[in-house]
């Protein structure tokens, strides 16, 4: 729920475990307690998308949760995330954008033990887009009052046996019909690519194609489309950088062009998916989808600099829902 900082403070004081997203100055005023947080001033609210430095988005842990455990992670400990996540429940991880930990997680999460066996979701904290490069995104560990720009924080939530959590991913992009693109090395940038099996300089290839950088590269992970968003493209310098890594051996295609980004996004939001206990949405969807003032159905939460559904995703909406076991 999108609330005043006073309301968020009252919930924490009442010992309600919560996940809080908001402007850094507001989060700094919250008391110690069972909460985790991350910085971002962009939100999906009941009234539509908005930028706010006066309100925060609070996601409450269900009252019937059996337990809540909050852990901070650094580059030495993040690989235990999957084994730390509860056997029955879910984990919400928040990492600060542009940190070494963000980078490491993006590269290595798919190899972490148990990561796909547990329900691990979350987001990458950010800043106002005008502050990128000036202010470091932060995460907050409520129990200790730590404010971190190089570490991450996770809330592990254990559920009673009769409930199960499930991650949903909304991705409006599809692989286009164009060239198959691979990269010779895993990483966040490249100066060469392999187009239909032939190695070529990025500048030479993309300089000819009128490449739309709003559209990501898309890979098909056995039915789950995974995007890599373009951060910058330097044609004369033959260099492309990404918001998530490209992986050597993975076949990408540039996303299929779409008519109305906003319409496509809004029509893709699922309805009647049951109780949602977490949701976040990429800030690129906010920008390119012109979501300011436009409602995103029942799914609300922070806009992010990256989404986590087991591993780092780009340009998606991620949600966690609960259902009762049959």
């Amino acid at each position: 729920m999108f609330v005043s900082i006073e309301k968020a403070r009252a919930l924490i004081t009442a010992k309600t475990p919560v996940i809080v997203a908001g402007d850094e100055a507001l989060l700094r005023t919250l008391p110690a307690g069972d909460w985790v947080g991350g910085t971002i001033p962009y939100f999906m609210t009941p009234e539509g998308g908005q930028v706010s430095r006066t309100h925060v988005f609070v996601t409450e842990v269900p009252a019937f949760a059996r337990g809540v455990h909050i852990t901070t992670y650094d580059e030495q400990t993040i690989s235990t995330l999957g084994t730390d996540s509860p056997e029955n429940g879910y984990t919400i991880l928040i990492l600060p954008a542009f940190s070494g930990l963000h980078r490491l997680f993006a590269l290595q999460a798919p190899t972490y033990e148990n990561i796909f066996f547990r329900v691990v979701a979350g987001w990458i904290s950010g800043t106002h887009l005008g502050d990128v490069g000036k202010i470091a995104p932060k995460v907050f560990a409520g129990p200790t009052g730590e404010i971190l720009d190089m570490k991450g924080v996770a809330m592990h939530i254990e559920l009673p046996r009769e409930y199960q959590a499930k991650i949903g991913i909304v991705n409006i992009f599809e692989q286009g019909d164009g060239d198959e693109i691979q990269f010779p090395a895993t990483g966040f940038e490249s100066d060469v690519c392999i187009v239909n099996g032939k190695t070529t300089r990025i500048g030479d290839y993309l300089g000819q194609t009128g490449f739309d950088t709003r559209l990501p590269l898309v890979a098909n992970y056995n039915g789950t489309k995974c995007n890599v968003s373009i951060r910058s493209l330097d044609i004369p310098g033959s260099k492309i950088t990404f918001f998530a890594p490209v992986f050597a051996g993975v076949k990408y295609r540039h996303a299929k062009p779409m008519g109305d980004y906003a319409e496509r996004f809004l029509s893709a939001i699922p309805k009647d998916i049951g109780p949602t206990v977490f949701c976040c949405n990429c800030v690129h969807n906010y920008l390119h989808g012109n979501l300011e003032g436009r409602r995103t159905g029942d799914l609300q939460g922070p806009m992010t600099f990256g989404e986590i559904a087991y591993q780092l995703l780009n340009q998606t909406l991620v949600h966690v829902t609960l259902s009762k076991r049959k």
Partner: protein, 66 residues
């Protein structure tokens, strides 16, 4: 079947995202080091055991391909 999934010999779009992502990433690991195949297959088997209630439709389609 399980080894074929890891080796990418069977193409299937899974209805449950974690399944598709797991098998895709196991295939990348196998490409880097084929000697890991038995350990990677164990992971697929364990995953299907844990999430069989979500993967029933996928299992039917997978085995009907054989």
């Amino acid at each position: 079947m399980w080894a074929s999934l890891v080796q990418g010999l069977v193409a299937h779009d899974f209805s449950y995202p974690a399944a598709g992502m797991l098998i895709f990433n196991l295939n990348l690991q196998w490409q880097r080091d084929p000697s890991k195949l038995p350990a990677l297959v164990k992971q697929v088997w364990a995953f299907f055991l844990k999430y069989h209630h979500l993967l029933g439709g996928d299992v039917v389609k997978l085995f009907s391909q054989r």
